[in-house]
């Protein structure tokens, strides 16, 4: 593998890498393609066999019924609001903790790491009634803000641990260098550590958004009339014919895909490899 550039070994390994990448891509894309296709097909086509694999008979009847169904567009907007609030809250609260875990070997660090993860290990199904009672009593039941609070609690572990693992990869000497040049600790953090940890923040941001966007259980529980999109979609589609379920799945998926594609370029650092 350490042959000269242009040698057949190098070319073969390059070809091998491409082939692998393409194969994996096909595997990843196929189900998404099928879901999109089914969402834009008529009920008849979706149930037919052999299944239609090409976009020959596209139909928007399923999607348009779905979109015009009362409440869906409101729910979409509400999900966006909830996701954004969750993003801000969880990044603000969790990033400092991640930094602390990475930089300082303080007593209780490992316990903290475990406890934070433990909150995710408890199936939220069991917490449903106590949580709902709290929310109703506090008057934040059935509001976007209330759901965001729940989502932040669910997303915090991701932020804390992901940022911690990335900060661990940023050399502390750089911050110390900045401090000897006169920066305060905070300034060194903001100007040196944070930008270098951008991929970690981007990854955290993606996770938080995804977690909040797709989260259906707490959202169904904590809302009644002002639903988020997954809660709304799920409540409509459980017993519906398959074409409607695909439409719902697609509808849920499309905005996430867009957001992920936007954030993904920040997954790379500035070490000369920023993606265009």
């Amino acid at each position: 593998m350490s042959g000269e550039r242009g040698s057949p070994v190098v070319w073969l390994s390059r070809f091998g890498m491409y082939a692998t990448a393409v194969l994996v891509s096909l595997f990843v894309l196929a189900p998404i393609y099928l879901m999109t296709l089914a969402a834009f097909s008529s009920q008849e086509d979706v149930y037919a066999y052999p299944k239609e694999l090409l976009p020959r008979n596209l139909s928007t009847e399923t999607m348009s019924f779905f979109i015009h169904f009362g409440g869906v567009l409101d729910a979409l907007q509400r999900s966006v609001v909830v996701a954004l609030i969750t993003l801000v809250l969880s990044l603000a609260i969790g990033t400092p903790a991640g930094y602390a875990l990475a930089r300082f070997a303080f007593r209780g660090a490992d316990t903290l790491r475990l406890s934070v993860v433990a909150t995710r290990a408890f199936p939220i199904v069991i917490l449903s009634i106590p949580l709902a009672v709290i929310f109703i009593s506090w008057g934040i039941d059935d509001t976007a803000f209330g759901v965001s609070i729940a989502h932040t609690a669910l997303a915090l572990p991701f932020v804390v641990l992901t940022t911690s693992s990335v900060f661990a990869g940023v050399s502390p000497e750089l911050e110390e260098a900045a401090m000897t040049l006169g920066c305060s600790r905070l300034k060194a953090f903001v100007k040196v550590a944070l930008p270098l940890a951008l991929p970690g923040l981007a990854a955290s941001a993606i996770f938080v958004f995804i977690v909040s966007w797709n989260e259906v259980f707490a959202a169904s529980l904590l809302t009644l009339r002002h639903r988020t999109l997954p809660a709304e979609v799920l409540s409509l589609l459980e017993g519906a014919p398959v074409n409607f379920r695909f439409a719902g799945g697609f509808f849920l998926m499309a905005p996430s895909v867009i957001v992920i594609l936007i954030i993904r370029r920040y997954l790379f650092t500035m070490w000369g490899r920023v993606l265009k």
């Binding site: 009362g70 801000v88 449903s128 009672v133 109703i136 509001t143 803000f145 930008p195 017993g239 014919p241």
Partner: protein
């Protein structure tokens, strides 16, 4: 670097703006809407009529003309606990948003302590034509009217017309026996190479109702008392036989309309609401018929949906008005036509129902009128143990039929569990078991 900073600032700014909007929306939860109407605002939470098309019908057809502002809300169809959790949480918190509840008899059993006594409404509706014995079911074994009957349904079988040619000789589809059903399933498998009979045995499937209302009663003329009788064991052995000719994916089927429409299954049993999509989309391809007859009769189970008012309802009077509206004759007729659920008040049938619904209606009538009908009532007095009652039957099924264990052993294992449930709740026997004085006993 600067670009990143700008982008971040923009994102934070946008988020802050939206956060302000969200906080402003905090007060939106209980905001009153529109002009004052007679019944006021009623939040109607129902786990029936919760499928997309049904919700559409409720909002645009059934509620049309009601003098009030109704918010029709439905929890996810397969997730009963969301309905239960919401009611329980509101009760425990002491304040609620929901004024009217729609659910099944079995659902109300689990939340009966949170419901208001509706005797006044019951008296009025009895005069309007709801049969007394139906109303009595709404008392859930107490002396308070806990729910008002709303609509009826039952379970039927549906066959794809291309399966009819595999019927055994002499079999009449409206008067099948279980033995003939077995032969039919076997014929389909032998001649086509694939099992085309299906049952809803998925985790959200209603197999428990089949076992409690159809299989065990048809073979043993009982549900609890005959649980470990030889007749019941024969019934389980029959299922084991039938399973060989049942589509293997039945363990994943929750709504039989899907495999019927896709053609994986040609003959199925399920709740009428879960067959609807198939009957509506291609009604002329399918035929509905009553469930078969066993050695002891033709067991069947009626389904009763009802309306109730939680104690924490913010608008109980509006809820009561809505109950009366939903049970009025014109709305009940519309209910049948739009969502296929049968009225609780007497009502004449419109011919414009469509081939699928008409066929289904005929099947239901045939079931109810059959001379050898063995009516299995809904479990009464089980409270929150209703779920465990279901578990006994489903576990028995899974162990005997799917895992292949010996029927007698399994039934003997499960009997103490079943008996414990009866003893714990004190539930007296119900049809088709003969009435008892104390807790129902497994003989």
């Amino acid at each position: 670097m600067r670009r990143i900073r700008h982008t971040r600032r923009a994102v934070i700014g946008l988020a802050a703006a939206l956060a302000l909007v969200a906080v402003a929306s905090l007060g939106g939860a209980g905001a009153a809407t529109a002009a004052h109407r007679d019944a006021g605002n009623v939040v109607f939470l129902s786990n029936q009529l919760a499928q997309v098309s049904e919700v559409d019908q409720v909002r645009n057809t059934l509620l049309k003309g009601f003098d009030g502002n109704v918010d029709y809300v439905t929890p996810p169809v397969g997730q009963g606990q969301v309905w239960f959790n919401r009611i329980t949480a509101e009760a425990q918190a002491g304040k609620g948003t929901v004024s009217l509840l729609g659910g099944l008899h079995g659902d109300f059993l689990t939340v009966q302590q949170y419901l208001v006594n509706l005797s006044d409404v019951a008296k009025q509706l009895q005069k309007a034509g709801i049969p007394k014995d139906l109303l009595a079911l709404g008392k859930l074994g107490t002396n308070r009217q806990l729910y008002i009957p709303w609509m009826q349904a039952t379970y039927v079988m549906v066959a794809n017309k291309q399966a009819l040619k595999y019927l055994p000789k002499g079999a009449k589809i409206n008067a099948l026996t279980y033995a003939q059903l077995l032969q039919w399933a076997k014929n389909m498998k032998d001649k086509t190479g694939q099992s085309r009979f299906g049952m809803p045995v998925g985790t959200n499937g209603l197999i428990n109702r089949f076992l409690q209302g159809y299989l065990v009663p048809s073979f043993s003329k009982g549900v609890v008392t005959t649980f470990r009788s030889q007749n019941a064991i024969n019934g389980w052995k029959y299922m084991k036989n039938l399973w060989q000719y049942t589509h293997p994916q039945s363990l994943t089927y929750n709504f039989m309309q899907d495999p019927l429409l896709s053609g994986e299954v040609w003959v199925a049993w399920d709740h009428v609401a879960r067959l609807q999509a198939a009957l509506k989309a291609r009604g002329s391809d399918f035929v509905s018929f009553p469930a078969p007859r066993g050695p002891m009769g033709r067991g069947y189970m009626p389904v009763l949906a009802g309306l109730a008012v939680p104690k924490t309802a913010p608008n109980p009077s509006g809820a009561k008005q809505l109950i009366k509206w939903m049970n009025s004759v014109p709305v009940q007729a519309r209910t049948l036509g739009s969502v296929g659920f049968f009225p609780v008040v007497g009502s004449r049938l419109s011919k414009r129902l469509g081939a699928g619904l008409l066929s289904m209606n005929a099947a239901v009538k045939n079931t109810q009128r059959a001379k050898d009908a063995v009516k299995s009532l809904l479990p009464i007095g089980l409270g929150a143990e209703g779920g465990n009652f279901n578990k006994v039957y489903v576990d028995t099924f899974t162990r005997i039929v799917v895992k292949g264990e010996d029927p007698k052993t399994v039934v003997n294992d499960e009997t103490p569990i079943l008996q414990a449930i009866m003893d714990k709740t004190g539930a007296k026997c119900w049809a088709p078991d003969p009435p008892s004085t104390g807790p129902c006993q497994v003989k």
